[in-house]
């Protein structure tokens, strides 16, 4: 069996005959359970302002709205500005499930298909340090929404904007489903530099990520 052979080879390389003794195992568990951040890059900037600035620098677009009701307008304006049909897929999560979309707008709660033009998602957190949106998979929040449609609108509550990536991990550890199946950290739209080392957007995933920050 490869498994036993590899583990035996590793132990031989480490000049140990057996698995670790219980005292060492206890110290390793203690190290890992302490989960202290190592090095946090210093910065002093309003978190939401930085999130928006960083996200835009990554070729994303953003808008700030006063409350959840503002999401409807933000999405419809985006659809019109990009000449998109008023039909899209959405995460079945609050506050998206309770929005008054109005007549003629088809908001569908299902996984994305290959020809969907736009998905609307809710971020579990956003990292101001790097302009990164954190989307966790769960019932009602399929991963395909992040990668298949051409456009991605991501709603984030301003209270969920954190300073560093390391602030996300304790939040996730509180979830009953930890570790969630998928943790997507999205920093701007899909891109490639495989042709002439020059960036083109919309490689396989969205051409644009539109951030809607809801004040809370």
């Amino acid at each position: 069996m490869s498994r036993e052979r590899i583990l035996a080879d590793i132990r031989r390389a480490l000049r140990r005959r057996e698995a670790l003794d219980p005292n060492v195992v206890r110290s390793l568990s203690a190290r890992d359970a302490a989960v202290t951040p190592h090095v946090l890059p210093a910065y002093d900037e309003d978190l939401v302002a930085r999130l928006v600035r960083k996200h835009e620098a990554l070729h994303g677009s953003a808008v700030r709205v006063a409350n959840a009701g503002g999401i409807v307008n933000a999405v419809i304006e985006y659809l019109r500005a990009h000449d998109l049909p008023e039909r899209f897929v959405s995460a079945a999560l609050a506050p998206l499930t309770e929005l008054p979309w109005g007549d003629g707008v088809a908001c569908e709660f299902r996984p994305a298909r290959g020809d969907d033009r736009l998905a609307v998602s809710v971020a579990d957190a956003a990292i101001a340090e790097t302009g990164t949106l954190v989307l966790v998979s769960a019932p009602g929040a399929p991963m395909s929404h992040n990668y298949l449609p051409e456009h991605h609108v991501v709603v984030v509550e301003s209270a969920r904007v954190v300073k560093w990536q390391e602030d996300v991990w304790p939040l996730l550890r509180q979830r009953p489903d930890f570790p969630p199946r998928g943790i997507a950290m999205i920093s701007g739209p899909s891109k490639t530099a495989d042709v002439e080392q020059t960036i083109e957007y919309g490689a396989h995933g969205p051409r644009n990520v539109h951030l809607v920050v809801v004040e809370s």
Partner: protein, 477 residues
């Protein structure tokens, strides 16, 4: 398999060919500056970079020192998420495990994300022999799949291809999808690839990806991409297989954050790549999508041996490609000249260690020991020292050609005897100095044809440094 991957012996011949390849030289020239400049500005903007390097090294060293513990912890947590860990000692083991999973899923089409481990074991050959169609989904990997070539850079596999070559490849291969015209500009090329590969994501039975890291705490793999192809390969097909080297495991999510800050900056000068995604097991109850099966295949292939010898530092490598981008040799000849999937300084170390020092004799010697690779390596791997150690191994195993061995022995005899050495170099300096007085250089010298074929040899000024120093001391200056 293509010509380039067959042999690691013909380095000199391939290098000469690469130097004369105008398309390749144009592509390399364009790539060089971009990678180097972007990396430098990203690092200048982060004063904590050196501390992050220290922290990452400490984490890697800690994990490697307890590698059995962290691999078993990872395995337990993958199982707790409903996934399975498989162990592969050799490339043949890995290919067999992957094929078994594919067969029991009845797979006809595999969507593949970028994975250097899969390149390392020639998984594409195994899949082909088993009659399973494979679509590489990273645009660069897809281009070289169409060209039937191995990658020439670990993060930019098609860096050697010009736009015109890509247009031709697409034109030749995409007729079968009913695509008639030529995609001439970048936007059209990317759009055409999106259209063709989208169908692969949706139709594939199995998705195979690599892992930038494995996280023991959560039993997750993380993939870092800019295109999103790895994510589509991970979450659309009904089976997801991850292939990874055993050195990829790290303890916790906090540890991961340190590496993510180093990886993008060192590779492409990005603070974060567009997509960094952690996957932990198959779809859960109530999930709307996601694979039914989740497998991780861990590959040893010489790594556990390196753990116990003087090449252990190489296991710290995070495959960012910075050493390639800063290497004057790589920048001149590109990746294919190295003869295997890993190229540049990291490839010159890894290839002989995995493939055998006799199979890749030239690689450790094709280095000027300028040290830039070590300076830019986020993990501070002492690549020049490792290359020197390989040269020593070659010498000890008598793989070094006899003439070179004789010269090295003669030099080491003289160098260990300072007075004899001074006498010898003094005499050589005087003779050459006198002979070359008129021109100040030699266009031809006995025993040094290898040097003078490409450039002139400067004539010595006459007196050696030691004798000038002694003279200056005597004159009291």
């Amino acid at each position: 398999m293509s010509v380039v991957a067959e042999s690691t012996r013909a380095f000199a011949r391939r290098s000469r060919k690469a130097l004369l390849d105008g398309d390749l030289q144009a592509a390399l020239k364009r790539a060089r500056g971009g990678f180097v400049d972007h990396r430098r500005s990203a690092i200048e903007a982060l004063p904590e970079f050196e501390r992050l390097r220290d922290a990452a090294n400490e984490i890697r060293e800690h994990t490697l020192s307890h590698l059995d513990y962290y691999l078993e912890l990872f395995e337990r947590n993958v199982a707790a998420n409903g996934g399975t860990v498989h162990w592969a000692s050799t490339p043949a083991d890995l290919n067999r495990i992957v094929l078994d999973i594919c067969r029991s899923a009845g797979a006809k089409l595999v969507a593949k994300g970028k994975s250097m481990v899969s390149e390392e074991v020639d998984l594409h050959v195994a899949l082909k022999e088993a009659g399973i169609e494979r679509m590489e989904t990273d645009l660069g990997e897809y281009i070289i799949q169409l060209a039937d070539e191995p990658p020439s850079h670990i993060i930019a596999p098609a860096v050697h291809k010009t736009r015109e070559q890509i247009t031709e490849l697409f034109h030749r291969h995409h007729a079968r999808y009913g695509i008639e015209g030529r995609a001439e500009d970048r936007e059209a090329i990317v759009a055409e690839a999106r259209r063709v590969l989208r169908k692969a994501f949706l139709d594939a039975d199995v998705g195979i990806t690599g892992a930038n890291f494995l996280i023991a705490e959560t039993g997750s793999n993380i993939i870092v991409t800019n295109e999103g192809n790895g994510d589509l390969s991970s979450c659309l097909p009904k089976v997801h297989i991850v292939t990874a080297g055993i050195e990829k495991v790290i303890p916790t999510l906090e540890d991961l954050s340190v590496f993510l800050r180093l990886l993008g900056r060192s590779a492409t000068g990005q603070e974060m790549s567009a997509y960094s995604t952690l996957y932990s097991g198959p779809a859960r109850e109530g999930d709307d999508d996601g694979p039914r099966e989740y497998h991780v295949v861990l590959l040893d292939n010489g790594r556990s041996t390196m753990l116990g010898n003087e090449f252990r530092e190489m296991l710290r490598c995070i495959r960012c490609g910075a050493c390639l981008n800063h290497c004057p040799v790589y920048s001149s000849i590109g990746g294919h000249a190295y003869g295997w999937v890993y190229s540049g300084p990291m490839g010159a170390v890894l290839t002989p260690l995995v493939k055998g020092i006799d199979a890749a004799f030239d690689l450790p010697n094709a280095c000027t020991l300028n040290g830039r690779c070590q300076e830019v390596c986020p993990m501070r791997i002492p690549l020049p020292s490792l290359l020197r150690r390989l040269r020593q191994r070659q010498l000890e195993a008598r793989f070094t050609p006899r003439g070179q061995r004789f010269m090295l022995a003669a030099w080491s005899y003289a160098a260990a005897r300072p007075r004899f050495y001074r006498l010898l170099t003094g005499a050589a300096g005087r003779v050459l100095g006198r002979l070359g007085r008129r021109k100040g250089r030699f266009s031809w010298l006995p025993l040094a044809r290898g040097w003078t074929r490409g450039r002139d040899f400067p004539a010595p000024q006459g007196a050696t440094f030691m004798s000038q120093w002694a003279k200056a001391r005597r004159n009291g200056s």
